[in-house]
């Protein structure tokens, strides 16, 4: 669905990998988590807690909250506003976030 404009820089620099649902996702420095996931073809990001419909990023600028995922154990994180860091553990957000 997406590709880097500069193909020669498509390989990640050392260690720039996060984990999405157990699979490694390479990213470029400066990528948001949402951009890295979309570049890796990861979709959907979550299911609607209301009707279970599948959702993925819509606005990429922090307005729509469709890109919510779990990052390093914290649920409901706006992945378009979170800069990707090596070793992040990212998971789909299933339904509403749990308390506690």
């Amino acid at each position: 669905m997406f590709t880097r404009v500069e193909r020669n820089s498509a390989l990640p620099a050392g260690g720039n990998v996060l984990h999405f649902e157990g699979s490694p996702v390479p990213f470029q420095p400066g990528d948001s988590v949402a951009a890295a996931l979309l570049a890796a073809g990861a979709s959907p990001f979550r299911e609607s807690p209301v009707d279970d419909s599948l959702r993925a990023p819509y606005c990429m600028m922090g307005v729509c909250f469709e890109c919510l995922v779990e990052i390093d154990g914290r649920q409901n994180q706006q992945s378009c506003l979170t800069t990707a860091r090596p070793g992040m553990i990212v998971k789909r957000q299933h339904g509403a976030r749990t308390l506690g």
């Binding site: 959907p44 419909s53 729509c64």
Partner: protein, 465 residues
Amino acid sequence: MNALWDAIVIGAGPAGMTAATTLSEGGARTLVVDEQPAPGGQIYRAVERNMDNASLSALLGPDYADGAALATSLRASAAELRFGTSVWRVDADGTVWTKADGKIERLRARNLVIASGAMERPVPVPGWTLPGVMTVGALQIMLKDAGLRPCGRLVLAGCGPLLYLFAVQCLEAGVSDLVLLDTAERANFIPALRHLPKAVSGHGPGYLRKGFGLMTALRRHGVKIYRGVSNLRIKGTERAATAIFRTGARTLRIDLDLVALHEGVIPNQQIARSIGCAHRWDEEQRCFLPILDPMRESSIAGIFIAGDGGGIVGAVASAHTGALCALAILKRLGKITEAEFADRKAIAQQALDAHLTIRPFLDRLYRPRDEVLVPANEVVVCRCEAIRAGAIRDVVQRGCLGPNQAKAFLRCGMGPCQGRICGPTVGAIIARGTGQTPDATGYYRIRPPLKPVSIGELASQYEED
């Protein structure tokens, strides 16, 4: 709690950067907060990083590169810059509550400049919640921020300058399978012509040339463009796969890998609404605008709104509105004389006016269709709570008079986005149903937290107090 700032600027796009630089250079103790990791806002997103990237900056063009100078001036100024910082509550007395890395802070300023910019107008069409449906602005952000461009068949649906600009940027970035569904109504052209004499004054000709250049480039590349498109529907099971639409007398269906929607931009009104700044409906821009005086001060003294958040004016004009706010604040702080204020205000105002000549023409030419503003019953309006237009019309039939009542009945606007996406549509459907004006219908009452904050994060702030 920190000492009192002379001014806090919320947002570091063109308006916020210019306001902060002007304030700081004028001797005001200035703080800038922005959600992004670097200055630029959405229009100049990642502009500092991309200046070293020859191919990407060539692709994004000289207008984008202009943002680098604003960022450089901001960095060179004495303004304190806090990036990666969300504002989740603002009070009318100048208190700003921020969150960064899970840490809450409460800041206070004598004056606030809200420069939170624009968002894309919601485009509620059947299927718009499917993965693989994004906004044109979202795709452009990915290009600017991550050097990512769509691959496979890309459908861009809607109208307005950003759509055509991004289409050309896609071609230059190597997108080879691009289809444009142009939703601009042909009937707009004649009424738009009335604004052409104004549009050819000031800096208008530059904008018109750029527009013609984009149209020519699309034609030269042989991009398939369907015009007068209406009744757009997107279908797919797990993700968007097909667009179905009317063009002329035909109904067509095309397969796709990714579809992006765009029907212009509207002010991001969340912060101004939450403080209680007065708004009015603007029929030309078909959205609510905050009521501002000529220096961009809102109905609440000391709260200024710069840039597109005060009404859509574009990037360069936004910078000039930022300068106007800053001058008014500097005068109030006694940092500049009456004479200096008058001189500099006149210069900023003149520069601003020259960039505004094009707006009425563009607003009229790319006025969104009714079906975008008040969609059909089956269309999801509130994405978070999955509330359809028909449900809103039902409660109107039963006597619901405004968006806040609809919210209580249906939960529309109560999901994670806090009504940012559905607010304009819910208001429009109710106004149409009751026959009231948009002003009489009103808007959601926006309350903090404007961004998610956990109880734990809140508690940590009080421990420090």
